[in-house]
Symmetry: C2
Subunit: 336 residues, 2 copies
């Protein structure tokens, strides 16, 4: 059997992860027990949520045990199987780890996928994966957009945010995106079809509050929030009556002590709501979401962008792009 | 005509209001124009929300203009009338000001009331007024309590909070109240029927998080939030899946720069929501709410507590009790 390179969590990060928190080791591929199968991972999804799983408290998932490989969604091919329904050569997708080979079992979350249905098998980690389904269900179900609404998307150049902006346009909304730097902002309007882009770099909360007000003179009906911190506070100052804030993530706070959201009283003033959203709640409806997203993509109404970095040895650098904001689209790591 | 003492806002408070921000002046009672009537104010409701109206930004109400009397709900008797439907001697209730005599007009928010229907006319400022209706609609409509839910009430010894705890028990919920000091905590369980009381005084966020967890080992389904700050953050750490937080007020932050809510990410972990609530949204349903609250009160299922301080000259001291937490029940000022 081939060797198994594994990207292990060796120490819980204190704030921003550093290379010494991890170790890339080579081990023997595991033996199969009855009911198990072995996956040759080809691509892994690098997501901000993984940072939360590295902490001792965990979040909606148990923490990654120290010494275990870092958990991630991957797609790959069944290499060997002692489980019914999973044949050697079959493509699968599931929550595995950053390693060459992952062990899984029937009845778990690992599902067969069909690469012939999609332009690129990596699309299962973007538009048809957690990212696409987060945008689809998080925006449409939690934020309840109505035609004519003004929708503010933060982290708008990110994998989820860029899809949410495009869904807002499909639903007849006005889309305002916040992103970091002129290049990303140009992409928001030119590539993803946002009506307006706001560059948050170097701006104070007061600056951002004013710029959102200028971009949304009639106020904001929906915020799709990926960032938190002063960006969320500036958004809260521009809410309309009965506005809906879908809280998808707070990436600005994952590596630091949270600054705190200070304008929450605006929820009273505007009788508005903030609802947390997690894509796992919609697993049973992924078929519905994927079919609709696939149709819009086929009609050319959804631009899909993926950044595929190569090699398990580059995992740390690729993962950190998410927090530096230097990735272009959905961050994917090619393992093999 | 008698003289009109008026409690004026002379300067916008910087943080905690000081006596110099106000002035009690004596003016002539105003002349009536056609369609107007003059009210002899007997009682005024002192509410935390008034603090927000003193700031330049206003909130859901325009700011009180400098040099104007401080806005407040009052009840009183029509002294003189040139308005149809308002006769001399008629009891009325409305949003007026902290002054002996207020001018009002037909078609505004001033409504006739009937003291013979209630044990004390002051009840129109507590259980049948904004306080009672905030508890009723804010808890029942915004928090959607279900039988068997665990309900956490902050500011639980306050006018709204003490009613919410009692409504939670009427609805078959478990009620946990947070208040300041052993005396108030004893009152929560002994007088208002809360199952458990937690004293926040001298406690850190971590202490409070643990104490809530001990009081609610199966988690919290509903928070009725009046306080904000570390108390809200401790509550957020104890939410159950799909919990509802009704945000009624954040009294801990009205006189200071907000500390910020730092555990908002728990909304994602628990797919929970925070919704702001304002009693003004339910004005058209006040009759329904008052009838139900009155029935429960008549059945002895609702304890109503009012603290009536006397004299316009004591307005400042009485108002500040709300922030020191030294009032016992709904804070009412007897003007005449």
């Amino acid at each position: 059997m081939p060797q198994n390179r594994r990207f292990l969590l060796q120490r819980r990060p204190d704030g921003e992860p550093v290379p010494e928190d991890f170790e890339l080791v080579t081990e023997a591929t595991p033996e199969l027990a009855d009911g198990q199968f072995l996956i040759r991972n080809h691509y892994a999804s690098l997501d901000p949520a993984i940072r939360g799983w590295m902490d001792a408290e965990g979040n909606y998932m148990p923490p990654i045990p120290l010494g275990d490989p870092v958990r991630a969604s991957t797609i790959g091919v069944v290499e060997e199987s002692r489980a019914e329904g999973f044949e050697k050569g079959q493509w699968v997708m599931g929550l595995h780890a950053l390693e060459d080979f992952s062990l899984s079992q029937a009845g778990g979350f690992t599902q067969p996928i069909d690469p012939s249905l999609v332009p690129s098998v990596t699309n299962y980690l973007s538009i048809f994966g957690a990212v696409g389904m987060t945008a689809y269900f998080g925006f449409l179900e939690v934020c309840e957009p109505k035609e004519g609404d003004t929708v503010l998307v933060t982290g708008a150049a990110g994998a989820v945010g860029s899809l949410v902006g495009q869904l807002a346009k499909i639903k007849g909304c006005r889309a305002i995106g916040i992103a970091g730097g002129p290049e990303k902002c140009a992409k928001l309007t030119e590539k993803y079809g946002f009506d307006t882009a706001i560059d948050y770099k170097g701006k104070s909360e007061a600056d951002l509050t004013r710029e959102i007000a200028a971009a949304a003179p009639d106020g904001v009906d929906v915020i799709f929030e990926n960032v938190g911190g002063i960006i969320l506070d500036a958004g809260l100052m521009n809410l309309n009556l009965h506005a809906r804030v879908g809280l998808c993530g707070m990436i600005s706070e994952y590596n630091t002590e949270p600054r705190g959201v200070r304008n929450l009283w605006q929820l009273i003033v505007k009788r508005a709501q903030i609802r947390g959203l997690l894509v796992a709640d919609y697993v049973e409806r992924f078929g519905e979401g994927a079919a609709q997203m696939g149709q819009w993509a086929a009609e050319g109404r959804l631009v899909i962008e993926e950044q595929v970095d190569e090699g398990l040895e580059n995992t740390y650098a690729s993962f950190m792009r998410l927090f530096a904001g230097t990735n272009q689209g959905k961050m994917i790591l090619k393992i093999a």
